[in-house]
C-alpha cells in the first residue's frame, strides 16, 4: 500500500522505494497559500482526492476517509528539487497569515456587533417589563413611579394584608421585579463590555461617536482596519444597507445616514440639516478610524472640537 503525503508544493504518492506519482501545485504563492489554508481547515485537496483509488496510508485525520490511517514513511523531497524556490513559500506564508489575521479581526468585530445588538434586545425587554409592572403596581399606589429601580424596590416591599395584595399575586410581581433587576445589571455589564472593547480598538472613533455607535460601525465594516479604508460617504451610510438597496431596486428616496443617525447631533437636528451634519460626522469618523487603525495616535480631542464648531455653524445657518 502506498503512502500519501502533501508538502507545501504538491501531493506525493510513494512506497518504500520510490515516488509512484505526484500532483505538483501551481507555482504561484496565492495558489499555494489557498491549499495550505484548506489543509489547516481540515479539508481534503483536489490533488489528494485524485489518489483516493489507491486507498493510501495517511497520517492526518483530515485524510482518513481517503485511505487508511497508519505510519507514513518520511518523504525525502524538497521544493527546490522540483523548481519551487523557498521564496515562494515565504510569500505564501505571508499571504496566508495576513488572511487569517483579517478573518480573526472580522470575526471579533462581528462578536462585538452581537454584544451591541444584545444590548438593544435587553433594553427592549426592560421597557416591556417595566411598562407591565408599572401598570400592575398602579393598583396599589397613587402617582406614577418614574424610576425602574425604585419600582422594583416598592414591589418587593408590598405588604400582604395591609395593601389588598394576596400572597400569590405579590410573589408573581416580585418574581417579575427580580427579572427586571437582573436585566438592569445585564445591561450595565454589556455596556461596560462594549465600551471597554471599543475604547481599546478604536479610542478615536469612540470619542467622536460614543462607544455604542462606534461598536456598530466597526461591526458593520468588519473591523477597524476596514472602517479606516472606507470613504466617508460609505461610513455615513453604514447600517443603512437595506434602505440603500430599496432605493436602488424600488426607487424610494435614498438614505442619508446609517447607524450614525442614532447620534443626537443628527437625530435631534431639524430635518433639512441632518444630511449636512451626517456628512460632517462621517468625515471626522473617517479621520479618527485612520488614526486608530494605522498610527495609534489620539487625535479625537481636536477632531471633536472641529466637529462641534462646524456643527454650530450649520445649526446657525438659515
Amino acid at each position: 500500500m502506498p503512502y500519501l503525503k502533501t508538502t507545501w508544493f504538491g501531493t506525493f504518492l510513494y512506497d518504500d522505494e520510490k515516488i509512484i506519482d505526484k500532483r505538483l501545485f501551481p507555482k504561484e504563492a496565492e495558489k499555494i497559500a489557498e491549499r495550505l489554508h484548506k489543509i489547516q481547515k481540515g479539508e481534503v485537496l483536489e490533488e489528494e482526492k485524485e489518489f483516493a483509488d489507491y486507498r493510501p496510508v495517511v497520517d492526518e485525520t483530515r485524510l482518513k476517509n481517503l485511505g487508511r490511517m497508519g505510519i507514513v514513511k518520511k518523504l525525502e523531497v524538497k521544493g527546490e528539487d522540483y523548481g519551487y524556490d523557498v521564496s515562494l513559500l515565504h510569500e505564501a506564508t505571508l499571504l496566508l497569515s495576513r488572511k487569517k489575521i483579517g478573518e480573526q479581526q472580522a470575526d471579533r468585530s462581528k462578536r462585538l456587533g452581537e454584544a451591541v445588538e444584545a444590548l438593544d434586545d435587553v433594553i427592549k425587554i426592560i421597557n416591556i417589563l417595566l411598562e407591565r409592572l408599572r401598570g400592575w403596581y398602579g393598583y396599589f399606589s397613587f402617582g406614577e413611579v418614574e424610576d425602574g429601580k425604585e419600582l422594583i424596590e416598592k414591589i418587593k416591599h408590598l405588604r400582604i394584608g395591609t395593601e389588598r395584595v394576596d400572597e400569590m399575586e405579590q410573589e408573581n410581581m416580585a418574581n417579575m421585579a427580580e427579572i427586571l433587576a437582573s436585566l438592569y445589571s445585564c445591561r450595565e455589564k454589556l455596556e461596560d463590555y462594549v465600551e471597554e472593547v471599543v475604547k481599546k480598538i478604536a479610542p478615536n472613533v469612540a470619542a467622536i461617536t460614543g462607544p455604542n455607535i462606534a461598536a456598530r460601525l466597526i461591526s458593520h465594516a468588519g473591523g477597524i482596519e476596514k472602517l479606516a479604508m472606507y470613504p466617508s460617504g460609505t461610513i455615513q451610510l453604514l447600517g443603512a444597507e437595506k434602505a440603500l438597496f430599496r432605493h436602488i431596486k424600488e426607487g424610494t428616496p435614498p438614505p442619508k445616514h446609517g447607524v450614525i443617525f442614532q447620534h443626537e447631533m443628527i437625530n435631534k437636528a431639524p430635518r433639512n440639516k441632518r444630511g449636512k451634519i451626517a456628512r460632517l460626522m462621517a468625515t471626522k469618523i473617517s479621520t479618527a478610524a485612520k488614526a486608530d487603525a494605522f498610527t495609534g495616535n489620539f487625535i479625537a480631542d481636536d477632531l471633536k472640537r472641529e466637529m462641534e464648531k462646524r456643527y454650530r455653524e450649520i445649526m446657525e445657518e438659515g
Binding site: W8, Q40, T61, K100
Partner: protein, 214 residues
C-alpha cells in the same frame, strides 16, 4: 566584540547579534556600530533565550543553516535575533494569537528567513505541510500542557534537538516552582537526553530553560 557562539557576540555584560536589517530596531533595543558592523543588543529581560545564554548556557545548537521550528513566536522579539543568527536557514514561527502575529508578519516581510504561521501548536497536523524540514525546536508557550506540545512536535517533525522554556506557574500554580522544575526535568529525561537545564532568574522569574536531544 567577542564572539561567544555562532552569531552571538559579547561586550562586557551585554550580548549582541549582527543586525540583518541595518538601521532597523525590532523592540527598541540598542544598536551599536563596531568596525562597520551594526549589532543589536539582545535584552535578557525581554527574551528568555538571551537570559539562557547569560546564565551560562554551554551548548549552543544554532548554526547559520539551522531550520528552526519556533512555537509561541509572539511578535518576534526573540525570533528577530534567531533571524540574525540563522542567516542561511529558516525559522517557522508559530503563534495562535492574531495580535502578536500582526507584528510578526511585518517583521517577516523584511526578513526573508522568517515564515509566519498562525496556528495552534498543539495541532501540528494543521501546519505540517508548511514545515518542509526542521532540525531544531524552540518552544516558549505558557500553557499547562507545554511539555506535551513539545514532545508532539518533536515527534511529528522528526526533530532531534530542542529547547523548551518552562514556566512553572502555568504548569501548576499550586506547586512550588522548584518542584515543577524537578518533575519536568525528570519527565524530559525519560524521553530525551537532557543537555542542560538552567533557571532564568533574575531575568525571568520561575522560568527554566531545558535543552534536550534525542
Amino acid at each position: 566584540m567577542k564572539k561567544v557562539f555562532e552569531g552571538v557576540y559579547r561586550d562586557r555584560n551585554r550580548i549582541y547579534t549582527v543586525n540583518m536589517v541595518p538601521g532597523r530596531k525590532v523592540y527598541n533595543e540598542r544598536l551599536v556600530r563596531v568596525q562597520g558592523v551594526e549589532y543589536r543588543s539582545w535584552n535578557p529581560y525581554r527574551s528568555k533565550m538571551a537570559a539562557f545564554i547569560l546564565k551560562g548556557m554551554k551548548h549552543f545548537p544554532f548554526t547559520k543553516e539551522t531550520r528552526l521550528l519556533y512555537l509561541g513566536v509572539a511578535s518576534g522579539t526573540t525570533a528577530s535575533h534567531f533571524s540574525d543568527i540563522i542567516t542561511d536557514g529558516i525559522i517557522y514561527g508559530i503563534d495562535i494569537a492574531f495580535k502578536p502575529m500582526k507584528n510578526f508578519v511585518k517583521l517577516s516581510q523584511e526578513r526573508k528567513n522568517l515564515f509566519p504561521i498562525m496556528a495552534n501548536a498543539s495541532k501540528p497536523e494543521e501546519y505540517g505541510a508548511v514545515v518542509e524540514e526542521a532540525n531544531l525546536l524552540y518552544q516558549d508557550i505558557a500553557q499547562r500542557n507545554q511539555v506535551e506540545i513539545f514532545t508532539r512536535n518533536m515527534e511529528r517533525f522528526d526533530i532531534g534537538e530542542g529547547i523548551i522554556m518552562v514556566k512553572a506557574r502555568s504548569i501548576d500554580i499550586s506547586k512550588k516552582p522548584e518542584r515543577v522544575f524537578r518533575e519536568v526535568v525528570k519527565n524530559m529525561e525519560s524521553e530525551y537526553e537532557v543537555v542542560e537545564a538552567i533557571k532564568l532568574a533574575p531575568y525571568a522569574r520561575d522560568h527554566m530553560a531545558i535543552h534536550v536531544r534525542t
